[in-house]
Amino acid sequence: MTDQLDEMEDVESFRLRARAWLKENMPKLEDKPPLRIGEDDDVEWLRARELQKMLYAGGFAGICFPKEYGGLGLTPAHQRAFNEESEGYEMPLLLNIPTFSICAPTILDMGSEQQKRERISAAIRGDEVLVQFLSEPRGGSDLAGVITRATRDGDMWVINGAKTWSTSAYAADYGLLLARTDWDAPKHRGLTMFLVKVNQPGVTLRRIKMVNGSTEFCEEFFDNVMVPADAVVGEVNNGWAVASRQLFYERTAVGGGSPYVSGVGRPNLVTSNFDLVDLVRKTGTAEDPRVRELLGEAVAHQRVQDQLIDRVTGGITRGHLPDSASSIIRLFHAETDWKNADVGLQIAGSAAVTGVVGEDGPLRYGESYLTRQSTSLGGGSTEMARNIISERVLGMPREFAADRDVPFSQVPQGRTS
């Protein structure tokens, strides 16, 4: 290897080395059925950590993270090459969102040297899982209006409040928690981001059951949770800058454009993978020209999504497009999922609503349809994406906000009469 010369390995040589290593070391993806929704997934999480440890031992973990924090310091082209080669192998997909694609890059951008050395490398080693504690029960889109409170107490901070929609918090070790630290400052200027240990006194987790039975999301209650001063990410009262990085990475990740993920596809937890070609065959509708048309339309939309991700992420990286253009990917992603859900329902016909008990058939397209809107809600609603695109990409006037430049303590939090 050319490491001693400190030259970056070229992508093709990296690809060949990855191909050989994967073949030798990683388990082939078995054709096992996805977990039933709501099924206990502890085994999957242990497996994800195990797979990550294997990647790390083989020298293929954290491809785009800097070497000093346990990564390989390579380029997105290397990561893409690895991901292409990894198809057909079991990968720690559960760790992609939010650990590697959202939390770790945010810490990399905004965290202290110690946080980077400890948290990023622990994640790359497969020892720790990270999660986001951002949204609160009081509202999702108005994220900066959080009312979870952090109060300084000597060398410590005391946290009180509630968070929600934290994906897989039950499996996590640390969370990035946004709390209000100055109630006299306007909304965005009184926030601080903390790296909080999940398993500690005062933290209570509860799983949320979704319409399709999934229990992947959690809500958390923080009662006098003590965190040390060095848990602050970035600066005190500058937490919105940190949260903004998270939101940027989240939009990129949800759209499928993150350079920090290992392997492609969705984790085994999620059963909403659409295989419309398979559905057409199963329903015996391949001769119907209308069905062929619908199928072609949905496939085309999916392809366009991949092409759009390439264009927009490349455009942002090379400075042709502003960071806020990642909302374009986010919005398009929702449209693709809607299209798949709708076409699935149309092709499946009545088989989407009733079928043989216990059979994993077209009924799942009916079930997916019930949670069709989750794709346009999770990771920031499409309405917010449209605000961002129109205001920050197109430069249109911002929406009126009653809480702008007002001390947060004076902002109405509900009806007063």
Binding site: P289, E297, R303, D310, I328, L331, S390
Partner: protein, 372 residues
């Protein structure tokens, strides 16, 4: 626009744009609307001097392109032409050139097309039928080593201006293509009505037209691949052009939203409208992404090129008209007047949507390619 043009391509784009801005502004397009020809042959020759008919031709046949990626360079021209709804047989002539180069031979014809001295058009559609280039009803009967063509082609672009038609016809052993001189005995060209003000179409009637062996393009064995090549080039240029048209319309509609005030505030300040602009911006970027990806795939001879041109047509064909219609809506009443330029663009993308396969036809083609 492709966000990753080379320096040469950027320069080429600028010079093409300048030429088009000077030589074919929208005022000129409106003048040409009154002209039966739809475009000026002398103008086309000058475009040919800029390489508009040379880019798909290898250097040894007198062709060449700016970046060595001829189709991608040509797509830049098509996109700029879309921004100005430029007249001219860019697509028609280049689709034929692509076929001739693919099939081999016909060096002299290629030379005449490259120089702009001659204009050609692919006669592929037939009355009453959709996109089915592999099943032509026009017959080619063998007579010695020559052929006799009979039948009717329609939706032939620039039919009135073309010197040559590339006619796709049925022989006893399968489809085959022929170069037919527009002035040959038995060829009658009847102008058709067209939605586009400057892109003209016509019907080409073939009655006992004798074609010498020298005018046969390729062989029965190679014809399906040559037809596919022609389609790929046509769809790439068409999607680039439609994307350029939508880009320009979106640009001036956004400007309109900033300038136009109602109830004391600009249209751009209303969330109900901002969200529609956000949708349109997203779809426009997607049009650019898929048109660009299709051009690159065809340029590189990628194995998924056939699928990706249909993906682009499925998407751009549908969204181009939807976006421009919404821009008409956002302009209010002026948007449906003759005076406003919006209809020039709407005409062009509506024509593009329909030809060389509708989005629906291309969706079925995707299902075919996936072997469902």
């Amino acid at each position: 626009m492709d966000l990753d043009l080379t320096a040469d391509q950027k320069l080429f784009r600028t010079t093409s744009k300048k030429f088009l801005d000077n030589e074919a502004p929208l005022t000129r397009v409106r003048e040409l609307a009154e002209d039966a020809a739809g475009f000026d042959r002398d103008w086309w020759s000058r475009g040919a001097e800029l390489g508009w008919a040379a880019m798909l031709v290898p250097e040894e046949l007198g062709g060449g392109s700016v970046s060595g990626q001829g189709l991608m360079d040509l797509a830049i021209v098509a996109e700029e032409m879309g921004r100005l709804v430029t007249p001219g047989p860019l697509l028609a002539t280049n689709a034929v050139i692509a076929g001739l180069v693919h099939a081999g031979g016909h060096e002299e014809t290629i030379e005449r097309l490259v120089s702009g001295e001659a204009v050609a058009s692919w006669a592929v559609y037939e009355p009453g039928a959709g996109w089915r280039p592999d099943r032509p009803a026009v017959t080619a009967r063998a007579k010695g080593d020559a052929y006799v063509l009979d039948g009717v082609k329609d939706r032939v672009e620039a039919a009135g201006q073309a010197d040559l038609f590339l006619v796709t016809a049925q022989t006893d052993s399968g489809p085959l293509q022929f170069l037919v001189d527009a002035t040959a005995d038995g060829v009658t060209v009847v102008p058709s009505a067209s939605l586009d003000l400057v892109r003209r179409f016509g019907e080409v009637r073939l009655e006992g037209v004798e074609i010498p062996a020298a005018a046969v393009v390729g062989s029965v064995e190679t014809t399906p691949a040559t037809i596919e090549r022609q389609l790929q080039v046509a769809v790439v240029l068409q999607c680039a052009e439609s994307t350029g048209a939508v880009d320009r319309v979106f640009e001036f509609t956004v400007q309109w939203a900033f300038d136009r005030y109602s109830f004391g505030r600009p249209l751009a300040s209303y969330q109900a409208l901002k969200h529609r602009f956000a949708d349109m911006k997203t779809w426009l970027e997607a049009c650019h992404a898929t048109s660009g990806a299709a051009a690159r795939a065809v340029q590189e001879g990628s194995p998924d090129a056939a699928e990706l041109i249909s993906v682009a047509k499925s998407y751009v064909g549908q969204r181009s008209v939807e976006i421009i219609q919404d821009c008409v809506q956002l302009h209010g009443g002026i948007g449906v007047t003759w005076e406003h330029d919006l209809h020039l663009y709407l005409r062009r993308v509506t024509v593009n949507r329909a030809l060389y396969g509708t989005p629906e036809e291309h969706r079925r083609r995707i299902a075919d390619i996936l072997e469902v």
